[in-house]
């Protein structure tokens, strides 16, 4: 009941939208957020779009994570290089997903 699932908006018709949860799992939902467009990545909860996961912010937050992690890791005594390599692997998957739209 607290959980919202990310999905991609494929069609908008007034206050109603079609979303794709991935793998062709489509659902008709209520649009409960402003400024949503086809192609946006949104959070869906109980059949309503409650917010957008903004791409730029998502990317910014990835950078924030990266910085925070590196700071934490080095402060915590872990090798900087190893941390950066690990992060790169993890974040490239996310970036790919974001860029794929």
């Amino acid at each position: 009941m607290c959980w919202a699932v990310p999905a991609k908006v494929v069609k908008i018709d007034g206050p109603i939208a079609q979303v794709d949860f991935g793998g062709g799992a489509y659902k008709t939902v209520v649009l409960a957020a402003d400024g949503i467009q086809v192609g946006d990545i949104v959070l869906v909860h109980a059949g309503a779009v409650i917010g957008r996961i903004r791409r730029e912010e998502f990317i910014e937050s990835l950078n924030f994570y990266r910085e925070m992690m590196i700071e934490l890791a080095t402060e915590g005594g872990a090798g900087r290089e190893e941390v950066e390599k690990e992060l790169e692997k993890q974040f490239s998957t996310w970036m790919k997903w974001l860029k794929d739209g």
């Binding site: 009941m1 607290c2 959980w3 919202a4 206050p15 109603i16 659902k27 008709t28 939902v29 209520v30 649009l31 409960a32 957020a33 402003d34 959070l43 909860h45 109980a46 059949g47 309503a48 409650i50 917010g51 996961i53 903004r54 912010e57 998502f58 910014e60 937050s61 924030f64 994570y65 925070m68 992690m69 934490l72 890791a73 080095t74 402060e75 915590g76 005594g77 872990a78 090798g79 190893e82 941390v83 690990e86 992060l87 692997k89 993890q90």
Partner: protein, 397 residues
């Protein structure tokens, strides 16, 4: 979940993120030690979201904490705190031939005492009552055009927009009524913090605020709370790394004497929240004192339909008595300790019914029903030994 599945999962998370998890863990230990040395008491951090508790238990995050850091679960599960009184009213409507639409979790929710011989909507259905499980309000709207029906509207701020937008847009058929049991999380957070103080327990010193509730309400309400109690709060995402990071952020603020709210879950949460959803919610609902299961009335903690929407209100339409503080009775089944569990002052394993008379397949109390109920989470995934071993093996103890 089988043991081998859980091992795979934990391994995947920790192996992939070993340096990250290890470094955050080190920071957590360092800051916690520092704080403990100056205050001399354990650091109690409370989460207010069943999904955060899920992540905490599923990934064994408690086993990664130093002994002076105590992670406790708060009242963050709408199914757990929906008063028995309202479930009873829904059961009566279903037995009287009115179709009751509800979520799968509320369907199984047991009441404190049987009413007309049944203890849940599921049992009412078995007796011939009309109950249908739906994915959301929109599904009920689409089905509810030709029959007298009620939507059993439980939930927190996350769920409120799914009700408010169709009502606000006049998209709900007049035969479909709405029984609002919507609740607000910040007043319950205050209640839980006050309870720890009133009971003379170690006070809550940091808050992991709910990510998706905050997608709707924004960070502001948590800021008021942080200021009022002089404690830091972090709005967290749901990955294990999100939670570890949020805990580290709370400890860092505690160490530096900062009493702020910070957003860790920046990819989905803003300071102001979802303005369009809030506007619709405030137009449709008004905030009043409301009952929480096992706890009683909490000031300004419930959303009720405004007068303007009275024709949809199941209470006025079906002449149901509203619940008042005078009428409220302690509403947990005998021996169930959910009230203490949602306040973070008892653990599921403190309850003598846990995994004996009360299991996920046959829940005795409300915290065992929803996947986000603390007892159900603990029952499904346990915690402790296994995760600890694996964490050790992959070098993050």
């Amino acid at each position: 979940m089988s043991n081998s599945m859980s091992i795979n999962l934990i391994e995947r998370i920790f192996r992939r993120n070993t340096p990250l998890a290890a470094s955050i863990k080190n920071i957590i230990c360092k800051y916690a030690q520092h704080i403990y040395e100056s205050t001399g008491r354990p650091i109690k951090i409370m989460n207010f979201c069943g999904t955060h508790e899920w992540t905490t238990v599923y990934y064994g995050l408690r086993t990664l904490m130093p002994p002076m850091v105590e992670l406790v679960a708060g009242p963050g599960c709408p199914v757990c705190i929906t008063p028995s009184y309202y479930v009873n009213r829904a059961i009566e409507l279903a037995l009287d031939g009115i179709t009751v639409y509800t979520f799968g979790d509320a369907y199984k929710l047991p009441t404190a005492r049987p009413i007309r011989g049944v203890k849940s909507l599921a049992e009412a259905k078995a007796l011939g009552g009309k109950v249908e499980i739906v994915y959301g309000f929109l599904d009920a709207i689409r089905k509810g055009l030709s029959k007298d029906a009620v939507f059993f509207g439980i939930g927190f701020e996350t769920t409120a927009p799914s009700y408010a937008v169709p009502l606000n847009k006049n998209a709900v058929p007049s035969r479909l009524k709405f029984l609002s049991v919507l609740r607000l999380t910040p007043p319950a957070a205050e209640y839980a913090i006050d309870e720890a103080i009133n009971r003379g327990l170690n006070p809550v010193q940091g808050i992991i605020a709910p990510g998706h509730v905050s997608t709707v309400i924004g960070a502001k309400p948590w800021n008021n709370l942080a200021e009022k109690y002089g404690i830091p709060a972090v709005i967290s995402g749901f990955e294990p790394i999100d939670l570890l990071l949020s805990i580290a952020m709370i400890l860092k603020m505690l160490k530096n004497g900062e009493k702020k709210v910070r957003i860790e879950y920046t990819r989905a949460v803003t300071w102001e929240g979802n303005k369009a959803a809030l506007k619709a919610v405030n137009e449709v609902f008004e905030v009043r004192d409301a009952a929480w299961r096992g706890l009683g009335f909490i000031p300004m903690s419930g959303w009720f339909l405004r007068e303007k929407y009275a024709k949809y209100d199941a209470f006025t339409e079906y002449g149901l008595d509203p619940l008042t503080p005078e009428k409220w009775k302690y509403d947990l089944p005998p021996l169930c300790r959910c009230a203490e569990i949602v306040l973070g002052v008892a653990k599921p394993t403190d309850c003598q019914m846990f995994m004996k008379r009360c299991t996920p397949s046959s829940p005795w109390g409300p915290c065992m029903v929803s996947i986000e109920g603390t007892c159900a989470v603990w029952a499904r995934f346990g915690g402790g030994g296994l995760t600890e071993d694996i964490a050790k093996e992959v070098g993050v103890t």
